[in-house]
């Protein structure tokens, strides 16, 4: 076995073939250290599930922080959440759920060798994700405009038309700045995940155009799909917790 040149190829990130393996058919996607495609696929999937578990645990810390704030200051959270736009939040929820559907359809299309279909489903998914970010941008802009920001940046503009008073609210002990701190931390971290997801789906789409996926090999599509569903799932929890407080 010519170890030297095999290793060289591996170091460059290529698949090592022609290294004296007896395997007659060596599919191009199979990396040198796996025995067969089945092993590679199940390893990649397990790795992805474990990664998703770490994501879930990371967000669980934020959810815990949210519940601590909410249980300490239930009235404050109830009042502060009225400052969020329920309509925009609901639109984003629908958009993301729909994008999960198109993502699932894209995986199915790859699996059944329908490359063109997969392309369109992926494109719609990307557009949905971008719509989500645009809506998020609108929401954030409004917050910045109104001064409903986290911590020391909280300076809410208020006006009481009846009394003819106008001014800014400063933060106070157990005040709204806590809620907006949590709101921006949660939606911000989620938004970063959406951006990463857009990048990943564009990458998948590009590979799909190059004909990398088929019923033989579509693990990356499936794994990106799993990631996307998790991002969607987290939003499904964020929406009621932040926008629909009772």
């Amino acid at each position: 076995m010519s170890t030297a040149h095999v290793g060289h190829e591996a170091a460059l990130g290529h698949d090592a073939h022609g290294d004296g393996h007896d395997h007659a058919a060596h599919p191009p996607h199979l990396r040198h250290h796996f025995d067969n495609s089945g092993q590679q696929e199940s390893a990649a999937k397990l790795g992805m599930w474990i990664f998703l578990a770490t994501e879930l645990l990371m967000f669980s810390g934020l959810f815990l922080a949210y519940f601590v704030v909410r249980s300490n200051y239930p009235e404050m959270v109830l009042e502060a959440h009225e400052r969020l736009d329920k309509i925009l939040g609901a639109i984003n929820t629908v958009v993301l759920i729909f994008s999960s559907l198109t993502m699932a359809l894209a995986v199915r299309a790859s699996q059944t060798n329908q490359r063109v279909q997969a392309r369109w489903y992926l494109l719609v998914t990307i557009l949905c994700a971008m719509t989500f970010m645009v809506v998020k941008y609108m929401e954030y802009s409004a917050k910045i405009e109104h001064g409903t920001l986290p911590g020391r940046f909280y300076a809410e503009h208020v006006q009481d038309l009846a009394a003819g008073v106008e001014g800014t609210l400063d933060r106070w002990y157990g005040g709204y700045q806590l809620f907006f701190g949590i709101y921006f931390a949660m939606t911000g971290l989620h938004g970063i995940h959406v951006l990463v997801g857009i990048g990943l789906i564009i990458w998948i789409m590009w590979k799909n155009e190059k004909g990398a996926y088929s019923s033989e090999y579509y693990t990356p599509v499936e794994n990106v799909g799993l990631y996307w569903h998790l991002v969607d799932l987290i939003w499904i929890f964020l929406f009621p917790l932040l926008y629909l407080v009772k």
Partner: protein
């Protein structure tokens, strides 16, 4: 002779391959190292990196130990605080968490499982570079200013941005960012190991034929994957607290500083087991190989690693007995802490039983293993003192705590790491070190270590608080003994470094299996070829089967 026996066993008779070019010489040049995806080279790079961290943090400790020789502080309080913070942060995040899993684990996990590499080799290389990045950011924190919170970053002390926005937050934000990045590296290693153990085992390598080092690394990886994300979010919130003053941990704005402690220890207590479980794995290997006897209680040791991993998630509150958490919670945490002692004791008794009627070789690896049994047991038992509610209130934040965790971290993990390095050095580098030199090292380390830290138990029980630059002169004799001990320990470790580096250059060529071990990593040449094995090994025996010597094996296993 034993070499061929093992090779025959594994390759079914056609043992002797001509010597082939090994992984160290397969490719040349610094670039071939920087871009390597070979788990062995990544392991070696991690080893060099983590040991450098150990050296730096160790020198810092020697500096403040020298300062502690007198009750007054020459360094001054501020510098003293900075030094112990750096010592802790570097030791924990840069050295001890990746030391065994990422260095020895990376190197030996695939070899022990009989596979060519870990499941995700490129992710493995990435984890190394992420680690380097984390290291750089952490070092930037030192340059940025005064980092004096201790490695635990407790709030509200770590909230450097005051109500008026004054206070230099740069060092703290950089340090937490660094720890965040290092955590990411740790997660990547963990994901890789779990998948490797599940999916990459050689044919015939059933779960019950895996070496115990693999079991321990597996349990470690589970903790890394499940606990580290919580640290990530904790540090992220702490950063937000400093940059935006979101108020979640700051009592001035209605936040809860104790919440930070809950968050922090939810990661950092399991992290203690990230540090110690791989050490248990090493000891299980060395004690069996160097006494030529089948490990006693294989399944008990394997599953106790998993049990420790599970219980480790339920004991974080024992760091918070004086934080004002509810008494009911404290009692529960105390009970669960005692529960950890059960699987741990199962291991210790199994190791001791392994020695019984074994053919014990008094080489450096075995001497370190025996040192481990001695020092780790002291560390473990004093942990029970600290887990007991009433006693802990007396010992809390005293030198007793310092001594306890150094007996576990240093007397446990570092001693086991030394046992492992001496055990696997011939395999990793293909050279034998001088056994006589190594024994001198063991003696220096043993004496130095116990002198340094045993005195600290006495200091702590008499009321010497930790993290103080100055102290009551009544404690001086103990401090002097402790400091002299630390110099002996430092000399011993430096000596170890010297003779190992000498061995790299001038050592005798190591045979494939110098200890007559039965696990797979010894079935390939020393150092291994780049793809580990000539043919994928088929495993039909367990890794502690020493048929020629061991007469108890048959009985133990049927």
């Amino acid at each position: 002779m034993t070499t061929t026996t093992l090779e025959e066993q594994i390759h079914g008779g056609h043992g002797a391959h001509p010597e082939e070019v090994d992984y160290l010489r397969a490719k040349r040049g610094i670039w071939s190292w920087m871009t390597t995806v070979d788990h062995k080279r990544i392991g070696v790079m991690y080893m060099v990196g983590t040991l450098l961290g150990f050296l730096v943090a160790g020198v810092l400790a020697l500096i403040f130990r020298a300062d502690l020789m007198t009750p007054d502080s020459e360094l001054g309080r501020e510098l003293y605080n900075k030094l112990f913070t750096l010592h802790g942060a570097i030791m924990v995040f840069i050295f001890i968490i990746p030391a065994i899993p990422a260095a020895l684990g990376n190197f030996f996990l695939p070899l022990m499982l009989g596979t060519k590499d870990v499941a995700f080799p490129r992710l493995n290389l990435m984890s190394f570079y992420v680690w380097v990045l984390g290291l750089i950011v952490l070092l930037a924190a030192i340059i940025a200013g005064n980092l004096d919170t201790g490695w635990t970053f407790y709030t509200p002390y770590s909230i450097k941005s005051n109500a008026d926005g004054s206070g230099n937050i740069a060092p703290l934000v950089l340090a937490t960012t660094g720890a965040f990045i290092l955590g990411f590296s740790s997660i990547l290693t963990g994901v890789n190991f779990i998948v490797t153990v599940h999916k990459m085992r050689a044919p015939g390598m059933t779960w019950n034929r895996m070496p115990l080092f693999v079991w321990a690394s597996y349990a470690t990886a589970v903790i890394q994957v499940l606990a580290t994300p919580v640290l990530a979010i904790t540090l992220l919130l702490l950063m937000l607290e400093n940059v935006f003053q979101i108020g979640i941990f700051n009592p001035a704005w209605g936040g809860d500083p104790v919440l930070f402690q809950h968050f922090f220890w939810f990661y950092s207590h399991p992290a203690v087991y990230i540090m110690i479980l791989p050490a248990f794995g090493i000891i299980s290997e060395t004690i069996s190989v160097h006494s030529k006897k089948h490990i006693f209680g294989y399944k008990a040791i394997a599953l106790s690693s998993v049990a420790i991993a599970i219980i480790s998630f339920l004991v974080w509150g024992h760091h918070m007995f004086v934080s004002g958490q509810s008494e009911f919670a404290a009692a529960l945490f105390s009970f669960l802490t005692f529960a950890v002692a059960v699987p741990t004791a199962i291991k210790v008794f199994s190791w001791v039983a392994t020695l019984y009627k074994g053919v014990i070789t008094w080489n450096a690896s075995m001497l370190y293993t025996l040192t481990f049994l001695f020092t780790f047991t002291i560390g473990g038992l004093t942990g029970i003192f600290l887990g007991a509610l009433s006693v802990d209130i007396h010992f809390h934040d005293s030198y007793f705590v310092v001594a306890h965790f150094h007996y576990v971290m240093m007397g446990g993990t570092v001693i086991a790491l030394l046992a492992g390095i001496h055990h696997w050095f011939p395999k990793m580098f293909g050279k034998m070190y001088n056994e006589g030199h190594a024994r001198i090292g063991v003696i220096l380390v043993f004496i130095g270590f116990n002198m340094t830290f045993f005195t600290q138990f006495m200091l702590g029980s008499q009321g010497m608080p930790r993290r103080y630059a100055e102290y009551d002169p009544v404690f001086q004799p103990y401090h002097v003994i402790s400091s002299i001990g630390s110099f002996i320990l430092g000399a011993g470790l430096l000596w170890t470094l010297v003779y190992l580096v000498m061995a790299l250059k001038n050592g005798k060529k190591a045979p494939a299996n110098p200890w007559g071990a039965a696990s797979l990593e010894w079935a390939t040449q020393s150092p291994p070829i780049e793809h580990n094995f000539h043919e994928t090994p088929h495993v039909d025996t367990d890794p502690y089967n020493y048929p020629e010597i061991d007469r108890t094996a048959a009985k133990a296993h049927h």
